[in-house]
């Protein structure tokens, strides 16, 4: 039986792991290669490296890091951050990454999804979608300005899910559910869905968001942002219908080990690899 995946996320800044809240206030959380080895030992199903200060000048640091990790850790490694071209894909895959996550570049140049999946295969094209809830007044629900937006009712309030780019700094006006369907059409292999509202809060994943996107595509969906307790992971799988759960601080600050998280899930009948 296909198991649900637990994926530690390592936000990388200049070669170190950092962790922030709502995409800002970064704190140091350790050495990426060392942390990768620890998570691998604990039974992580995959690893994700997100280079949050990616630029061409600093790309070499990332490549070196991917190479050093791939030498020691034999589980899938996804790398994202500032990847813009098919050539960027090739370089990072060559360094030992298995999947490449694209975000801003995918929105600005959707052809990149198509081109990369044709060359390297869909399985290595992860489209990361950063999302913020955009609440609307009840009396504006019929407004033409909303266009094709998917309106979701949450706790008696109405919102749609807006896609953000440039590390959460810029709203695009694009509806995340529509965008998810589009990236599937273009050849993406997986969606890494991050709630900016939830990120770093440790109040739990955005379940309505996760569930809405998961139900709209056939692609596997990784829930991300907000994990702070065991129940949050369970909720993401059971109610959010996620295929994988991404988490950072809960692991980096050693609140739980991956083993403990999986034992908890198994008791609650969520299939995991132990």
């Amino acid at each position: 039986m296909l198991t649900k995946r637990i994926i530690p996320c390592l936000d990388i800044k200049e070669g170190r792991v950092v962790k922030g809240t709502n995409f800002v206030e970064l704190k140091d959380a350790g050495d990426p290669v060392e942390l990768s080895k620890i998570y691998n030992e604990q039974g992580a199903d995959e690893l994700v490296f997100l280079d949050i200060t990616a630029s061409y000048e600093k790309r070499d640091i990332l490549i070196d890091l991917v190479e050093r990790t791939a030498e020691q850790v034999f589980i899938p490694l996804t790398v994202g951050g500032g990847i813009r071209t098919v050539d960027d894909f090739r370089k990072i895959l060559r360094a030992g990454a298995d999947k490449i996550s694209i975000n801003t570049a995918a929105v600005k140049n959707p052809e990149l999804i198509k081109n990369a999946s044709e060359i390297f295969g869909s399985q290595c094209v992860v489209v990361a979608i950063d999302v913020k809830r955009n609440y609307i007044d009840k009396d504006k629900l019929e407004s033409k300005e909303l266009g094709d937006k998917n309106i979701i009712k949450i706790d008696n309030k109405y919102c749609w899910f807006e896609v953000y780019i440039y590390g959460g700094r810029k709203g695009t006006g694009i509806d995340a559910i529509n965008w998810s369907k589009e990236v599937e059409e273009l050849g993406a292999g997986e969606i890494l869905l991050t709630s900016m509202d939830a990120d770093g809060t440790k109040n739990g994943y955005d379940i309505p968001l996760t569930k809405s996107v998961s139900a709209s595509v056939k692609l596997p969906v990784i829930a991300s942002g907000g994990c702070g307790a065991l129940e949050h992971v369970y909720d993401a799988f059971e109610y959010g219908k996620a295929d994988a759960a991404l988490m950072a601080s809960i692991l980096h600050y050693r609140e739980y080990t991956i083993q403990e998280i999986k034992e908890y899930l198994l008791k609650k009948n969520i299939p995991v690899r132990l």
Partner: protein, 204 residues
Amino acid sequence: MIAIIDYNAGNLRSIAKAVELYSKDVVVTNNPEIILSADKIILPGVGNFENAMANLSKEDYGGSLKDAICKSVNEVPFLGICLGMQLLMEKSEEGNGAKGLGVIKGNVIKFKDTVEKIPHMGWNNVEQVMDIPLFEGIKNNEYFYFVHSYHVNPTNKDVIAGVCEYGYKFPCVLNKNNIYATQFHPEKSGKAGLKMIENFIELI
């Protein structure tokens, strides 16, 4: 010497690193002559079937990788991984029915629409249906890492050594004489995967 075939797609470093844990004599190559002189051959794989066949068919060194593979495949232990497994078949539904190497009879088909998610991505159990050296020291129904949207459908069911269930049971390990193939990625499957690579390297 163990040759890992480089056809300009995907991640070759992780398979090379995994093999290097057990052998000092590993070459990642796109040179047909080196492949012809190898003691063992690994055809790794991620990528697109049609694209991969086009790359294997290029005549860069006075001969193609495809010809070298077809000559060596019955001579030395051979391991096809993921797309490298699918390429061994006669044809694939991926890429308008593109032709494969035709080493094993049968085709490559897309997962039926009834499965919940495509690609089949993540860790799943491998049921051992044949006793082959590759499974030595690996428990039945062990987890391995899969990522694929297509799977093989061999004509002769006697070559099926392992199966996996995703919506339905599909073949995930093939063995025909000295030829082995896995749909999952042993190089990405933690300890069990590394054990399988070690088993392959110890084949004579």
